[in-house]
């Protein structure tokens, strides 16, 4: 130890580094192996500025990401502010059981899953179809115009999107309601009816994000070798066949990765949007797990931190488990996976 600390304290280190550099160069089987620990310490010392750079980001992650994970321990305790997180009494799975026995448990879980399902069935394929369709457009200017227009809504904030929905779907003067009336559909207060919550949420999501979502597929399509298409054409392959056998396989890895991510966040419905679209009239379909967490833990007059944390934790754990299962399956089935 003494030798090490001395080595670290002064110029000896620089000398040693030089020596090791030389040793590395000449290291043959005959030379004694240098200690792994010493090599590690030397590498760390050599990269000390890199570690210094990392300090702030690591501190950020520790404080704002890992501290709340530690704080989530109160899900297994009856949180008492005077005793703190660690000092509060353990109560095991009490809060989880309470949540599951809650009469609305089933409704909230199914609302969450249904919203995710709608989004996966309608929201997921549209960007793929859009990318395939765009890829077949020969007119360059038209193509880039469609791209610019369809990407744009992505940058509108959730608040404004929901504000626009409120205006456009207004039963008396909303432009969409008026449009539908032209086709004989009677005016409906879409935001005030539980039955319309899922379609409005999903379709406005498609409107906002389909274009943006197609970028990644277009990128994959642009890397397809033109010669492949030309060769197929010479062999008499139709556009449909080329799309099926050249384009689709090209974007398959992207589809799989995005599908894994989608399923891994199945229970993470867009909280902000649901929260903003929610009102007393559509509560039976719009109450999802995360909005309930907010109500129990923050909005309530008597916030129940432990209970709300337990519900949130339940949600996160389901997500992680789903992600791991899907990723493992995808790895075995297709060799494409997140890790």
């Amino acid at each position: 130890m003494q030798r090490l600390s001395r080595a670290f304290s002064n110029k000896v280190l620089t000398k040693m580094k030089g020596m090791i550099g030389v040793m590395k160069f000449h290291a043959g089987p005959g030379l004694p192996k240098k200690s792994k620990l010493r090599q590690l310490l030397l590498d760390v010392d050599r990269g000390r500025q890199l570690y210094l750079l990392m300090m702030l980001p690591v501190a950020y992650i520790l404080i704002f990401k890992y501290q709340p994970m530690y704080g989530a321990l109160i899900a297994f305790k009856d949180f008492d502010p005077t005793a703190g997180i660690w000092g509060s009494t353990w109560v095991g799975l009490k809060h989880f059981v309470r949540f599951i026995e809650q009469p609305k448990f089933f409704q909230m879980v199914s609302n969450t899953l249904m919203l995710a399902l709608w989004d996966s069935i309608i929201g997921f394929p549209v960007p793929i179809l859009l990318a395939l369709a765009l890829n077949n457009v020969a007119h360059k200017k038209y193509k880039s115009f469609v791209q610019t227009v369809t990407y744009a809504p992505h940058f509108i904030s959730t608040v404004v999107i929901v504000g626009m929905l409120t205006q456009l779907l207004h039963p008396r003067m909303g432009a969409l309601n008026l449009l539908f009336q032209h086709f004989g559909v009677p005016a409906v207060s879409y935001l005030g009816k539980a039955g319309y919550f899922r379609p409005v949420y999903t379709l406005s999501g498609v409107w906002q994000n389909a274009g943006w979502g197609s970028i990644i597929y277009l990128a994959a399509l642009s890397s397809v070798d033109v010669e492949l298409h030309q060769a197929a054409q010479i062999d008499g392959a139709s556009i449909v066949q080329r799309t099926r056998h050249i384009d689709l396989p090209a974007i398959m890895p992207s589809i799989i990765i995005l599908l894994i991510l989608r399923i891994g966040s199945l229970m993470n419905v867009g909280f902000e949007k649901v929260f903003l679209m929610q009102n007393q009239l559509n509560l039976t379909t719009s109450e999802v797990i995360s909005t309930y967490v907010y109500k129990m833990g923050i909005m309530s007059q008597f916030p129940d931190y432990s209970y709300a944390t337990a519900i949130g934790l339940f949600n996160s754990v389901v997500n992680v488990v789903l992600l791991v299962i899907v990723n493992t399956t995808a790895k075995k089935a297709s060799e494409t996976s997140l890790w």
Binding site: L40, F64, F155, W207, A220, I257, V293, T309, G312
Partner: protein, 296 residues
């Protein structure tokens, strides 16, 4: 290939695909045009449901009311501040994390990556974060809009990928021979060589700050500190107009329709900065998405 020379199946495919595309284009454009046109229409025309694609009875009433509605301008000013300071902190921290992680000789790189990436898939949740902010006394504090989201791990990963594939190892070796330190290499070689990815970071973070709503709603109750999105929510979704706002006397009896047109002009005015900037920087955004699609 000319359309006439296509086989029957291909003709059908091309027609269907192009029709769908055109339909999608119209569907995307219609709401945008309607909101824009409504904001330039007469409040009465909106009330009567007469505005579709073009302005009806052109009027600037919405914008005149908007210019007098001070809460919006306070929100505007606050959002600009949060966006500037927040984005600057974001980009600095992202580079500080991404650069070491891009270096193959950085011992413990794998561990650091796991340490960062884990937080992408698992989090303590809304309530523990809320309690943390409270314990840190960040309520009604400027920094609550900057610190809790000071770094996005996703951005760190795409930035690291960029550094890895765009800064040749030989540059570092050469610089080292000249006695260049790591920090110096980062600021004088790596960063200047990485302007595209830094632009991507600036844009992603800036849009995020501009559109941020929920944290502000939770942590800022002081009216003077509220960002634009919170003010917008009051006007657009809750239909709450500030009590001390005096409508133009001319409209005393038409308060309702003025409140409606104010909604359209606010939507346009709040979204305009992002929308105007977007066509010019579109390629950087796309680059960011494509980098994100690469496996790190």
């Amino acid at each position: 290939m000319r359309f006439g020379s296509l086989s029957k199946g291909d003709k059908v495919y091309t027609v269907v695909s192009n029709t769908l595309l055109f339909f999608l284009l119209l569907v995307t454009l219609y709401p945008l045009l309607n909101v824009l046109s409504s904001s330039f229409s007469d409040p009465k025309a909106i009330g009567a449901g007469r505005v579709a694609i073009f302005p009806v009875d052109f009027s600037l009433d919405g914008y005149r009311e908007l210019s007098r509605y001070t809460p919006i301008w306070v929100g505007y000013k606050n959002s600009i501040m949060y966006t500037i300071v927040g984005t600057f902190v974001n980009v600095t921290l992202t580079i500080m994390a991404a650069y070491p992680l891009s270096r193959k000789d950085f011992r413990g790189r794998g561990l650091f990556i796991v340490f960062f990436a884990f937080t992408m898939y698992f989090s303590g949740g809304m309530i523990p974060s809320y309690m943390l902010i409270r314990n840190l006394n960040l309520f009604n504090n400027f920094w609550v809009m900057v610190l809790p989201g000071a770094l996005s791990v996703y951005n760190v990963i795409i930035t690291r990928t960029y550094f890895q594939s765009n800064i040749p190892d030989s540059f570092l070796e050469a610089a080292r021979l000249d006695g260049c330190t790591d920090v110096k290499f980062l600021t004088q070689v790596a960063i200047p060589l990485s302007t595209p990815i830094i632009a991507v970071n600036f844009l992603f973070y800036a849009v995020g700050h501009w559109n941020a709503f929920f944290d502000a709603m939770l942590y800022l109750s002081d009216t003077k500190m509220k960002p634009l999105q919170v003010v917008l929510r009051d006007i657009l979704i809750e239909s709450r107009i500030s009590a001390d706002f005096n409508f133009d006397s001319k409209y005393a009896e038409a308060k309702q329709s003025i409140a409606e047109i104010l909604k359209y002009s606010t939507i346009v005015a709040s979204t305009l900065p992002v929308m105007l900037m977007y066509p010019f920087v579109q390629k950087y955004f796309i680059k960011g998405i494509m980098l994100g699609g690469l496996k790190g």
